[in-house]
Amino acid sequence: MYDRLDNIVALATIPGKSALNVIRLSGEKSKYIFASLTKTQTSPQPNHVYLKYIYALQEKDPFDFASLVYYQAPKSFTGEDSLEISVHGGIIIANKLIETIVDLGARQALPGEFSYRAFCNNKIDLLQAEAISSIVEANNSVDSYYLLNTIKGGLSKKLQESKDSIENILIEGEHEIDFTEEEISAKTVQKFHHSLQKSQQQIIDILLKSYTVEKKASEMRVAIIGLPNVGKSSLFNLLLGKSRSIVTSEQGTTRDTVEADIYIDTAFITLIDTAGLRKTNNKAELLGIEKSYQEIKRAHILIVVDDKNPLKILKQLNKYIKKKTTVLVLNKIDLKTTNKKEENIFYVSCKKNQGINPLLTHLLTCYKKERSEFQSQYFYLVNKRQQTLLKRIKQDLGLAVQKYKNTKDLSACLSDLYLIRDQFNSLIRPSEKEEILHSIFKGFCVGK
C-alpha cells in the first residue's frame, strides 16, 4: 500500500557505470531538503537549475557538485513539490545522496510510486502512466514515437472523444426519457441509431489504427510476390546482401515464407520472400501458397516480380492487394534484347546485379510515405489491459447497436451505454479501489 503523505526518493537512472545519475524526490519537504543539502537559507526558485555543492548531514565537506531543479506543486510531474538532482556517476555518490535525503525525512520510493502520485493528483491518466512505464523498454524510434504521443495525451484524447460521443447519446437519451412527455418520433429513433453507429465507427477506427505488443508498431513488412521461378528469392538475397546490416534471418522450407529484418539507410524493414503463386496439387506447396496470400494481406508494401510482365500479375492479384503500396519489378533483363522501358517498372537483373540501386531508393521513399501516415494515425496499445478493454468496448458497442436496432428500447440501450462508459473510464482513468490501482502500478520500475 502506497502512503501518499510520505516524501519519497529514488534513483531515476539505471544503476551502473554512467556519467551522471539523477535522483528524484517528491513531497512537501522538497524545499527543506534542498536547503539542507545545499546549506543555503533562501528557498529555491521553481524550474531553475542550481549548480551547488551538496552536503551530507553533519559533514563539513561536500560530497559532490550537483545540479538541482526544484519544481513547485502543482507544476511538477507528480503534482507535488519535487526535486530532481543530477550527481556524478557511480553508485557511491547516488547512494550517499539518497541516504542523506532519507535522513532528512524521506523514504525510498516503491516501484511506480511517482507515476501513482501523478495519477492520483490528476496530472496523468492511466494510459499516460503506462506509456511512461513502457518507454524505457522501447528499443526503436518508432515505438518511442508512439509512446511519447501517448504520454503527451494523444491516445487519451482520441479515446476521450469517443467516450464523449457516448456521453452525448446518454444525455440526449436521458432527456428523451425523463423530460419529454411526447412519444419518440421515427426521426429521433433514426438519429439515435445514427449516433450509435458513428460512435461504433470511431472505436473501430481507433482499433484499426492501433498497434499492439504482438503486432509491433516498429514493423514495416515488405513482401516479394510473384509466380515461381521469376527470381523472387534471388532478389531477396540480393537485397539482403546490399542492406547495411542483417538483424536476424530466419530460414523456413523453400516452400515456406522466409523473412529477414534489414535496414535500408535508417529504415527498419522486415523483408519477406514468399512461395510462388500458382495452381498446384502438392500439399506442402499449397500450404506455402496459402501463406503467401496471408502475407499479401499482412504486408505494408508489396514487390511484384515477374520476368515478363509484372503489371499483368499485379492486375491478376488485384483483389488480394487492394490499395496497398506496390513496387513492380521486371527481372532477368539480361535475357531481353528490347530496350523499351515503361514508367513505374523497375528493370533489374539479379544475375548481373543491375538496376538494384534505383529500386532501393524507391523502396526507401515508399517506406517514408507509409511511415508518415503511420505516425499521424497510429496508436500503440502497450499492454494486454489496454488491448482487452478496447476490444471489449468495440464488441459491447456493436452488440448495443444491434440490440437497439432490433428492440428500439431506449432505456435498455442506455443501460448498455452506461456500462460502456464505465469501461472507457477503466481504460483511461479508473476510479478503481486502491488495491487494484496498486497492482497496476506495481509493475512499473522504481523511480518511475
Partner: protein, 609 residues
Amino acid sequence: MLENNKPIVVAGGGHAGIEAALAISRMGGSCILITMDKKAIGRLSCNPAIGGLGKSHLVKEIDALGGTMGFCSDFSGIQFKTLNKTKGRAVWALRAQVDKKTYPKYVSKILKTNSRIKIVEDEVVAFSIKKERIVSVKLKKEGFLECSAAIITCGTFLNGLIHIGKNSFSAGRMGEPPAQGLTECLREHGIKTGRLKTGTPPRLSKNSIDWKQTEEAQGDSTIEPFSLFTKRPFKKKQEPCYTVRTNASVHKIIHKNIQSSAMFSGKIKGVGPRYCPSIEDKIFRFKENPSHLLFLEPEWSNSNQIYLNGFSTSLSEAVQKQALRAIPGLEKVEFIRPGYAIEYDYAPPYQLNAGLMSKTIKGLFFAGQINGTSGYEEAAAQGLVSGANALLYTQKKDPFILSRDSSYIGVMIDDLITTHLDEPYRMFTSRSEHRLSLRPDNCYERLADIAQNQGLLNLNQKKHTSLFFKEKNKVLNWVNQHKITLKNKTVLAAKHIKRPEISLLSIIPKEYKKLYFFKEAVFSVETNIKYEGYIVNEQQRMASIQKLEKARIPKNFNYNQLQGLSNESRSRLNKIQPETLGQASRISGIRPTDITLIGINIKKVSRET
C-alpha cells in the same frame, strides 16, 4: 402500546403526513395528525395529476409498501395515460389526471375512519427536547403536547410567501395562512434551514375559452390502474383535456413585461426547480423555441376551473392575462385565480439519516417538501418511510431503510441525505443506476417481502399481493415448461419470448385469461425474460456496491485526524457525516482513494472498541 405511552405526532396533513400516519397505523401503531385545516387534508396544491415521468415509479412503490396514493388516484382519476411507451418498458410512466375534489375527500375519509389516527386541527409552532430527544411539540391553540416522536411534514407552509407580480403576501398556499414559528425553533435547535420556491399556473374559467380552437387530447383507450388493490377489471369513464400553443405575440408580451415577474426582478430569493420552469424561464432560456405546448386540464369532473399546465408564472395578473389572450381560443380568457410563485423554508436533508430522522435530535423526523423535494409523489414516499421509522424508533427497533438497489424511494432518500441540493429535488428515472431492475412492473417482487416483514401491508393487501405472485408463478411455469413448435424446431416458450417481436400475450393459452391479474402477470413475466441479460449486468454492479453499503462509519467519526484526506473532502464529510461507506462514496468530490482510507480506519476503530 407505545413505548412510553406518549403518542407519535405527525405535523401536517399533506401527502407526506397522510402516508406517514397510515404507515404507522398499518404497522399497528397510532398517532395524532395535527394539521392547520382539516378540510385541506390531501389537497393537491398544484396540478390535478398524480404520476408521470419518474413519479409513477414512486406511486407504484408506495403501493407495494401498502401506501394509499395509487389506490386513491385510481379511485378519483378522470384520465389515464401511459407516457414513454416508445422508450422501453422500464421507463413507462402512468399519469392519472385526478378529480381535485374527489381525491382529498376520499383520502380524508380513509384517515377519518382509521381508529388509530386522531386528527387535530391546530398548528405546531415549536417543540422541546431533552437529552437530544424530542419530548413534546407546542401547538398554537392547545399548548404543549408530549410525544415520543414527531414527523414534520409542513410542505410549503413554513414562512410561506406568495408572489404575484409585484405583490407578495404571507400564505402556506393560495387561500391558506402560513405556518410561523417552527422554522425559528428548528434553527434554535441547531437545524439548518434554507429557502426554496415553486410556482403554479393560473386557473382559467371554462366558459371564457373558445374550445373550438383548441385541440383535444384523449386518455389511453385501454387503461391500467396504479394499484394492485384496485378492483379488476379496471374501467373508468375518461375525460379529455385540450391543448393550445404559445406564439410569437405571447412571447413578445412577456418579454416586454418581464420586470413585472417576481422571479426576474430579483424579489424571490428562493431557488426554483430548473426542470419545471416558469413560462418566463422557458421563453428566456429556450429562445430558439418559437412555441410552447400548454394543456388545458379540468380540475375536476365538469369543473369550471381549468388548470393551465405549462404556464407556471409569477408575472403580474394583468400581464399573465394579456399574454394568454394572444393565444387563439383564449382571446377572452378570464381567471378564477392567477398563477403565482411561493417561497418557503426547507431544512437541507443532509441533516437526516436514511430513516429520515434528524442526526442530531432523536425522534424528530422530516418528510416531504420540507426536505427540499417537489411533488406529491416524492412527499408521499418520504412520508411512508418516515412514518414507519418513527414507530420503529419508539419501539426501539432497527430502522426501515430502503437501499438504492431496492427502489426509487431508496434512491431518492439516499440522494437527499448525501447530496447538496441547490434546487428542489424531483424524481427522475435517470437518478437510478439500476433502471432496468427498478421497473414499475416488478415493484411488488422488489418490495413485498420488505413490506410484509415490516408489517406495512394490511390483510387485504397481503391477500392480493400473494394472489398476484401465485398467478404470476402460474404464468412463469407455463413459460418454462411449454414448448413452441416453429417451422423446423421446437423451443421453450421462455426462450421464444426473448425475441423482440414475440409477445407472451400472443402465445399464452386462452384459459390463462381467467386469472384475476392476467395482464399484470403476463407483462411482468415477459419483461423479466426480455430484460434478463441487462438485469444480470445490473446485479453484478449492485453486488460490487453492496460491500460499501454494509460498511458502517461510526457516529462522530473523526475525519480531522485522518491523514491523507484533502481539506475539501474533510469538510464535506464533516458536514454530511455519512452513515456508511456507500453514502460517503456518493458525496460529490470524494475520491475512491478517500473511501479506501476511511475504510481502513473504520476497521481500526472497530477493532479498538
